[in-house]
């Protein structure tokens, strides 16, 4: 019986985390964008405007939830829930620290990739259900974009899986540090199983994974509908795309899903390429920095730091690069990223056979 309570507690904890993260990520995003544009951002609500997003969410909660007369009511009402739940369920399989994972399933990566794809369904439902030409255009663009970019992202991930030989995210994480049971070789020649640190991360175990990481990162921007791949919500043409008609809490859920998605894809990137919860500090001789900084608390600290850095880079990119046109988007995906990802996968195979 007690494990049911644990399940519920874990899921509530994850929900609370994603909601809190979304609140402060919105605040962070507004501040980052403001500083980049030589403005100040929120300053009035609370110290440095820290309570601004809290006030925003309180406002959203109180707002009327409007359903357009011509909307398909069932699709329209279910869409935000599906969008958010799809992202939220992805959190279930992410390892936070050694021995700390909500659900230790051996198909973790496959599961995450599958469940994130359901978000597209929610977006299509939102666009179709709104019965609004801007919404449906945004939803179609989003679907086309997410499905296209899943291919390079998928092959970039496969090239990691070929190196790691497992789909279990916790096992992939363990392989990239001093806790590893098998031999780790830096660049394929220097045995550093006992040294660990930054040198044992996947991108340094097999350097072609740096390219795979860049491919994955670009594709993950597209999958979370962030600039420069934000044509689904292109404010200048489509009002705000598939969530034009949503108000109040439903709009809040769509927003929450976007920011949770940012965290989720960054965390998957960190787990697969950047050493997951492993410390970047190596053991040097008698100074066992890596062993000292590997524990449950340190694990959460490292993975949170790395993930938040990636989220920060996503924001930095959003406020720098202009939006890509549809044809440029598809060019980049099919003519550059997909072939490169194939090459990465090929190199991974060769690397696995000859150098590991």
């Amino acid at each position: 019986m007690s494990f049911y309570i644990t399940y519920v507690l874990v899921s509530i904890g994850l929900f609370a985390f994603s909601a809190l993260f979304a609140l402060f990520a919105v605040y962070g995003e507004r501040k980052v964008s403001a500083f980049i544009q030589d403005r100040l951002g929120p300053t009035e609500t609370g110290k440095f405007g820290l309570l601004q997003t809290l006030a925003d969410i309180l406002k959203l909660l109180q707002k009327e939830m409007i359903i357009p007369t011509a909307a398909d009511k069932i699709l329209f009402m279910m869409a935000p829930a599906i969008i958010f739940i799809a992202v939220y369920m992805g959190f279930a399989a992410l390892p936070w620290a050694p021995g700390l994972i909500p659900s230790k399933i051996n198909l973790g990566l496959y599961y995450i990739f599958a469940i994130i794809s359901i978000e597209t369904l929610g977006i299509l439902m939102a666009g179709w259900g709104s019965n609004n030409k801007y919404s449906i255009l945004g939803a179609m663009r989003s679907a086309a974009q997410i499905i296209s970019y899943e291919i390079p992202a998928g092959f970039a991930l496969i090239s990691v899986v070929m190196i790691a030989q497992t789909l279990n995210l916790q096992d992939i994480a363990i392989q990239q540090g001093t806790l590893s049971a098998e031999k780790i070789k830096f660049l394929g020649f220097w045995d550093i199983t006992k040294i660990g640190g930054i040198l044992s991360w996947n991108i340094f175990r097999a350097p072609h994974l740096i390219i795979a990481f860049v491919i994955y990162f670009i594709a993950s921007l597209a999958e979370s509908n962030r600039a420069p791949f934000d044509i689904p919500e292109a404010e200048s043409e489509l009002v705000s795309g598939f969530h034009t008609e949503f108000t109040g809490l439903r709009f809040g859920l769509v927003f929450l899903a976007e920011y949770s998605m940012m965290f989720l894809v960054s965390m998957v990137g960190v787990i697969l390429f950047l050493g997951a919860w492993n410390t970047p500090l190596p053991n040097i001789g008698a100074i066992h920095l890596a062993d000292w900084t590997t524990s449950k608390v340190w694990g959460i600290f490292w993975i949170a730091t790395k993930t938040l850095t990636l989220v920060g880079i996503q924001m930095w990119i959003r406020w720098t690069i202009p939006r890509l046109r549809v044809d440029q988007l598809m060019n980049l995906c099919w003519k550059v990223l997909t072939p490169l990802a194939f090459v990465c996968m090929l190199v991974s195979g060769i690397w696995r056979i000859w150098l590991m």
Partner: protein, 195 residues
Amino acid sequence: MINKAINGFKTTWKGLSLTIRHLFASNAKRQVISVTDDNYFKRLEGTNTIQYPHQKLPVPEVGRYQLDVEIDDCIVCDLCAKICPVDCITIDSIKATELIGNTSDGSPKRIYAAKFDIDMAKCMYCGLCTIVCPTECIVMTNQYDRTVFELKDLNYEFSDMTPEVAAEKRQLLENQLAERQAAKLAAMNKKEGGA
């Protein structure tokens, strides 16, 4: 193809390095200097935001903002109402039966202003009324921040006469006019009778 990709990365990096410089640039409060200052357009560092209620840009001396009327100096010549391109000034005048007094610059006042309304909602801030005013009683102040909840609150009433006083003065004027009319008639009758 490869050149294009390399170029893409190069330009992206250039943009990213530009934005990161701004991200970590000084976000000190903006120093408020007047637009007439020589450095005004040369200041490219730091934040650009003026935190308005706390910080205000100094307004230029010749700035044209809200109108104000010193009704004691007004001789009710109606020039401002006549020149106003948008007819936002409404003056209701009553001739006085005798000299009322003098304005602060010594001009004699002979007319009462029963009504002197300026509708700031219509005003286009051209400042023509301040130029034609012979006694310089209508001026533009440096007050520009004015918000009201009702449109009629933008109609500024400057006359200090109560309706009762105005009615009394009107009655006096009518009496005087009637007297003059009577005197004129008497004079004309006398003239005709003499001829």
